[in-house]
């Protein structure tokens, strides 16, 4: 099987800014185009290049994230790949079928029930009734709309509509699914579920996600593309691209951005030479608001029916907002909480995020299989997390505490920022547990 799923070469697309031309193209031009005759409109038009010479390749099984400010050309690119728009120059080759969710509720009939709309939507994608019959239960199940599936779609909220649309798409598209910012409408839990599904489907299909959430892109995309004013600024590993994306402002031209990228690299290089080891990520400053925290480290959540009185202690003291720690010191946290209802699949996670929102390590209690034990029943519980040295070497990190009833969350909190000082000269951000021995 060919590994290349999508190959885009020098793709360009221009739009005209002249509203007169947009509203009424000349009759002569339409006639010429009908007979396949090239025409050059005499009417003066101002062209706007929505995409300029975009080239990239996507391999089967890879997930691509596209970032960029509004008007960068992200949606135009997706529409061209989905054959909903023609390009002015360049070409693309897709070795498979592609389906997309580029607009909320596209193709749904508001008067019809969710169930009938599943059939309708599938048919619009060219899928037979027989195939839908085989998968209808899975589709309804995934969308979590069992109760409302026989209600008209006009009664659905935007989140419900998108759940239905996403569910139909992932059950039928075989090779490439394109999502244009639509998952932003879904709630936190559904988003988690979608991304879990995306991960599961990685074997058989690829995803292209357009999102303003750098966290989503960082977590689920192998590669990323940064578009700015129709031009491809950077295409490559997700973390590298997101770092560049953090530098952009609307007034920047592409050349400004490239200068910034170059300056940043020089600065980092200089700092490294000075022995400061300033991390690439630290070079980007974030505004610390509640929103930006949620954006980077995920939502805060508490299901008070299951869990209450969560206390986290570090060295016998309740943990504060900020900790400063040396990397060679032992790591010790005690988590105490009260379970109000028995939990079938209890799991506790303690992921470390860098300031970009990238999860560096994600330790969890999976090995303890808490859900099967008496630990997961009602009552006050305590659990201790420890390591003989800090799991990260240097930098500022956010520790998040998550108490899960898999796959959903019961409790999720941004615990605290930890600034780790590298006192023993370890290399890299994450501490290695590799043991070295001289072979005999």
């Amino acid at each position: 099987m060919n590994d290349n799923l999508l190959k885009v070469s020098n793709l360009s697309k221009k739009f005209t800014l002249n509203s007169k031309y947009v509203n009424s193209p000349r009759l002569g031009d339409i006639i010429k185009s009908f007979f396949g005759i090239e025409f050059n409109s005499i009417r003066k038009t101002e062209d706007y290049w929505a995409l300029k010479n975009i080239s990239f390749e996507l391999k089967r099984g890879e997930n691509l994230g596209i970032v960029g400010l509004n008007g960068a050309g992200k949606s135009t690119l997706l529409k061209i790949i989905l054959n909903r728009l023609s390009c002015d120059s360049g070409s693309f080759k897709l070795a498979g079928d592609a389906g997309g969710l580029i607009e909320l509720g596209a193709g749904f009939h508001p008067e019809q029930t969710g169930r009938k709309n599943i059939y309708l939507n599938a048919r619009l994608q060219g899928i037979s009734k027989k195939e839908v019959n085989e998968k209808i239960d899975d589709i309804v199940g995934f969308s979590e709309l069992e109760e409302f599936i026989d209600m008209p779609v006009k009664t659905y909220s935007s989140g419900m509509t998108i759940r239905l649309g996403f569910s139909v798409a992932i059950h039928f598209v075989k090779d490439l699914i394109i999502c244009d910012e639509i998952l932003a409408v879904g709630d936190f839990e559904f988003k988690q579920k979608c991304y879990k599904k995306i991960h599961e489907l990685k074997e058989r299909c690829s995803f292209i996600l357009v999102s303003h959430s750098t966290r989503d892109i960082a977590l689920f995309c192998d590669k990323a593309m940064f578009l700015h004013k129709g031009e491809l600024v950077q295409y490559g590993p997700t973390d590298e691209v997101l770092k560049t994306y953090g530098l952009v402002t609307r007034s920047d031209s592409v050349s400004d951005l490239k200068k910034k990228m170059m300056n940043r690299e020089i600065e980092i290089d200089l700092n490294q030479k000075r022995g400061k080891h300033i991390n690439l990520i630290q070079a980007i400053q974030f505004q610390e608001s509640e929103e930006s925290r949620v954006e980077r480290y995920g939502r805060i959540y508490e299901d008070s029916e299951y869990v209450k009185d969560v206390i986290v202690e570090c060295s016998g003291k309740v943990i504060g907002d900020e900790l400063v720690i040396e990397n060679s010191k032992a790591f010790f946290l005690k988590i105490t909480f009260t379970i109000l209802k028995s939990v079938a699949h209890l799991r506790i996670g303690l992921p470390f995020f860098n300031e970009m929102g990238d999860m560096l390590i994600g330790p969890d209690s999976r090995k303890l299989t808490l859900g099967d034990s008496a630990f997961a029943t009602r009552g006050k519980k305590s659990i201790v997390v420890s390591a003989n040295r800090y799991p990260v070497n240097e930098g500022r990190f956010m520790i998040v505490l998550a108490i899960n009833n898999d796959p959903g969350f019961l409790y999720r909190r941004h615990l605290c920022y930890v600034t780790v000082k590298n006192v023993d000269g370890s290399f890299g951000q994450v501490a290695s547990n590799i043991v070295w021995k001289v072979a005999v």
Binding site: D29, G36, L85, G100, G107, H109, R123
Partner: protein, 262 residues
């Protein structure tokens, strides 16, 4: 992209079905009579003009055939022509959201119109058969041929509708013109009586494809009327040529159309 021709065909059929369901079958959703409207609406012109005939508006025919039968035949075949031309000319414009948002093929838009025209034809034809046998007419094989004759007005309507569909995208006014002309042409298409005058206007009207289609439909079903096969053949050939030309033209202007629809 589904690859094989069988898959492409099946995809086309599924998409056409979806548009047919959306634009036609679900059209009356939310109304009390729901699907009943799909029977009432196509039959309405037949009932209405038969009612006018019953109160003597059209007078007695000189051909010895009950007026009710000739009017019904005329309405059935004229409406195939008019529904095809109106439906085809609006096919791209009215389905633009599906073309742009869900990637529906142009072909599927036209095919869904054909489904709707065919459904209306079936309902009207059944009503016609009731009227036909009510007047003690016997079964003749021509009633079967008349079913296949459905293709002639479809071809004639499609040949013009396909060309107009491209222009309607840019000039939506076209659709209003087409609808208005299609409505008033009913009275000059031989539905209520054939033209036997020799004035320039009468000769012009009697050579229009809509008139020829209707007049020959009467000739095909009723022995009292003349069936001019060569006329039908000429217009079918012209229509086929125009359809082929339109298909190429639509393919040529697809980029312009899609960009404008976005």
């Amino acid at each position: 992209m589904m690859g094989s021709k069988t898959n492409l065909l099946s995809e086309l059929i599924q998409q056409s079905n979806a548009l047919y369901f959306r634009n036609y079958l679900y059209k009356f959703q939310g109304m009390k009579m729901k699907y009943m409207w799909h029977i009432v609406m196509p039959c309405l012109p037949i009932f209405l003009y038969n009612l006018l005939n019953a109160i003597g508006i059209f007078g007695e025919g000189s051909d010895g055939v009950p007026r009710s039968i000739t009017i019904s035949i005329g309405i059935i075949y004229y409406y195939i022509f008019s529904e095809t031309i109106v439906g085809f000319s609006a096919a791209l414009e009215s389905n633009k959201s599906y073309i742009v948002k869900t990637g529906v093929a142009f072909r599927a838009c036209y095919l869904s119109v054909l489904y709707a025209v065919l459904s209306n034809f079936v309902i009207r034809y059944l009503v016609f058969l009731i009227i036909y046998f009510f007047y003690d007419y016997r079964f003749s094989p021509n009633l079967i041929y008349a079913i296949f004759y459905f293709l002639v007005p479809v071809l004639v309507g499609a040949s013009l509708g396909l060309i107009l569909s491209v222009f309607t995208v840019f000039y939506r006014d076209f659709n209003n013109f087409v609808q208005t002309i299609a409505f008033y042409m009913l009275f000059g298409s031989g539905v209520f009586g054939l033209i036997d005058g020799t004035s320039t206007l009468e000769i012009f009207v009697s050579n229009l494809p809509s008139y020829i289609t209707v007049a020959n439909a009467k000739g095909l079903i009723l022995p009292e009327f003349e069936f001019n096969g060569s006329n039908v053949l000429v217009w079918t050939s012209i229509s086929l040529f125009l359809c082929s030309l339109s298909i190429v033209g639509i393919r040529n202007s697809k980029g312009l159309v899609v960009n404008y629809l976005r």
